[in-house]
């Protein structure tokens, strides 16, 4: 990291807010910027190695995966491993399970956190400071330490091995209440007065005034809830025993045992497991970047 080199003055002063390169302008490449761009490209390529290696392994015939020294390209590249993994069907099933539980978590989290943040931000009621302090205090509790009593609770509720059992405990995200409340607090109240004069009730004000103004933060919270729920391992791992009900991360964890030393198949399942969220990331890249900025720095 200490290897970054002096940039050409012009690039450093380019329009900072637009992530795209500035309009093409003729510029000379100084030795410094050549070095900078070389280092940056190398670092990015190194970062791609694990994913590329997983893909390279996954398209080898099984017999070639264990040949030493390792080679990146196979003359007999094949998608056979993918066909075998997909043919078994469980990875499709796990992906569906992940999708269902993740959608439940994301929708419920957004709804209850938005309502709570709105309530704390715009209304006075007895006990509000105490309740808000209670919510904020919840941020400090590491949910990982509650797995045992949470599991016992799920057993008592009969929710082990169900979608609701996977989803419900993940819905409690006090940190999002905090972030959303701070965002709502910053919205000037004048905007709401016009709506109120038109006779809009509190829900109407939330829906047609607050929410449209909060789209960036809602997108960010939504995306991070989605990523977090999709990738959650510990809780689904504990509350699900039935292979049919496993989420993708949990199911893939059993893949090594299932496929044994079939490395092409193990890597094919890893690549397949990586694809859904990589697609989400590519689609929402800009929202994710601004979301981190908004939630982390200003929020």
């Amino acid at each position: 990291m200490a290897t970054s080199t002096p940039p050409a003055p012009r690039t450093a002063q380019g329009p900072a807010t637009t992530p795209r390169p500035a309009a093409p302008r003729r510029r000379r490449w100084s030795a410094g910027s050549v070095a900078l761009y070389t280092v940056a490209t190398l670092a990015a390529l190194i970062w791609f190695v694990p994913l590329l290696w997983a893909f390279a392994t996954s398209v080898k015939p099984e017999g070639e995966t264990t040949v030493m020294p390792p080679s990146w390209l196979s003359a007999n590249a094949t998608f056979e491993a993918y066909a075998l993994v997909l043919g078994r069907g469980d990875i499709v099933r796990w992906t569906m399970n992940s999708l269902i539980t993740t959608v439940i978590v994301t929708v419920l989290t957004l709804v209850i956190c938005v309502l709570a943040a709105y309530g704390f931000s715009r209304f006075d009621f007895r006990g509000r400071p105490g309740l808000f302090a209670l919510v904020i205090g919840g941020i400090l509790i590491p949910p990982q330490t509650l797995i045992v009593p949470q599991f016992v609770l799920m057993t008592q509720l009969g929710l082990v091995d169900t979608y609701w059992g996977v989803a419900l405990p993940q819905v409690v995200a006090p940190v999002f209440v905090f972030i959303l409340k701070r965002f709502f607090d910053a919205i000037p109240r004048d905007y709401e007065d016009a709506a109120r004069l038109d006779g809009a009730g509190p829900l109407r004000v939330l829906w047609s005034v607050i929410l449209p103004l909060s789209r960036p933060i809602l997108t960010a919270v939504g995306i991070f809830t989605f990523i977090g729920a999709w990738n959650n391992f510990l809780w689904p791992f504990i509350v699900v025993n039935d292979p049919e009900m496993m989420t993708l991360p949990v199911g893939l964890g059993t893949a090594v045992g299932q496929y044994g030393i079939q490395y092409a198949q193990v890597m094919a399942s890893a690549v397949l497991g990586a694809i859904p969220l990589l697609v989400v990331f590519l689609l929402f890249q800009r929202h994710i970047v601004t979301g981190v900025a908004g939630a982390g720095i200003k929020g």
Binding site: L131, I147, F233
Partner: protein, 314 residues
């Protein structure tokens, strides 16, 4: 928390929190019941899935309750004494701490370095953000399958490549000496993207005229980084360090999947020990007391960090 609902404040009373608000707002304040209805759904989930387990779990610590069922009897402080005198508990605490000590500086400095690269190599912005952040969205098992395969001592990419140069590579995840380092490296690759984005956003919000003024005064690029960028990132660095510290202390998943806590328990974290005691050993009471010991430590660390952080701000 429901006892608060019985005594709603009169509609017009502008409670203490409302003092600085505008006149219009005070006049049109909705009844105090309304706000409670909005926070109620969250509070219900919060109470059922977080507070209730926390309270019940505390109760378990005084019993010999087993996950296999059977009679439950009161055992006093036995579980607490056992977890506080168990050397394996201290070993797992140490492993967790060691992972934290190793990972926090790496995750902060690496994120800073990659963000500085991206901030200066503007023309590669999209490509760099893609490659440095993409691993963050991978499920933990995808990451551990790939890195486990690369770390494979006899067939993996690393030792295979070292072998080309006649070097015999280490055992990586299979040696007590290298297992934790290997996990930290894989974790850095996987998770650094979040801190990296935080840094990048902070860098891009530094006003450009500051740099322009420095450039006019003849400051070189390195000087601008040292005199402007880094000082203006102090707050961000503190924030990232706090978040990373708390995150690192909670480590479990990737280590469990890569090493199962081995070799010889050299990488078993506290969370895994809690899991082992509760779900493998079936001793709910003991696992709960361990969880409480650990929870208290994490909360103490978090509060201390936030104190430190807010003092820096003030």
């Amino acid at each position: 928390m429901t006892q608060n609902t019985h005594a709603p404040a009169p509609r017009t009373a502008p409670g203490p929190a409302a003092a600085p608000r505008g006149l219009v707002d005070v006049r049109r304040r909705p009844s105090s019941w309304t706000g409670l209805w909005f926070v109620l759904p969250f509070l219900a989930f919060y109470a059922l899935f977080l507070l209730w387990p926390a309270v019940v779990g505390f109760g378990y610590t005084f019993t010999d309750r087993s996950l296999a069922g059977g009679d439950v009897s009161f055992v006093g402080l036995d579980n607490w004494t056992e977890s506080l005198t168990d050397s394996a508990m201290y070993d797992s605490l140490w492993n967790t701490l060691w992972f934290t000590v190793l990972s926090v500086p790496v995750m902060v400095l690496l994120a800073l370095g990659l963000a500085l690269l991206t901030d200066h190599a503007r023309r590669l912005g999209w490509f760099l953000r893609l490659s440095f952040f993409a691993p963050f969205v991978l499920p933990v098992t995808v990451m551990t399958l790939i890195w486990g395969w690369m770390y494979n001592p006899s067939l993996g990419l690393f030792n295979g490549t070292l072998g080309r140069f006649g070097i015999e590579g280490p055992e990586w995840l299979f040696s007590e000496d290298t297992a934790m380092f290997s996990v930290v490296v894989a974790t850095a690759w996987w998770q650094v993207g979040f801190n990296y984005l935080l840094y990048l956003a902070a860098m891009q919000s530094i006003p450009k005229d500051v740099y322009e003024a420095a450039a006019i005064d003849g400051a070189g690029a390195w000087q601008r980084i040292g005199r402007i960028t880094l000082p203006m990132l102090t707050r961000t660095t503190a924030l990232i360090a706090v978040l990373q510290l708390i995150g690192s202390l909670r480590v479990f998943e990737q280590i469990y999947l890569m090493t199962s806590g081995g070799p010889n328990f050299a990488t078993r974290t506290v969370i895994q020990y809690i899991y082992d005691s509760g779900f493998v050993g079936l001793r709910i009471g003991l696992a709960s007391s361990m969880a409480y010991v650990f929870m208290v430590l994490i909360i103490a660390a978090s509060i201390a960090q936030f104190r430190l952080f807010s003092r820096k701000e003030g």
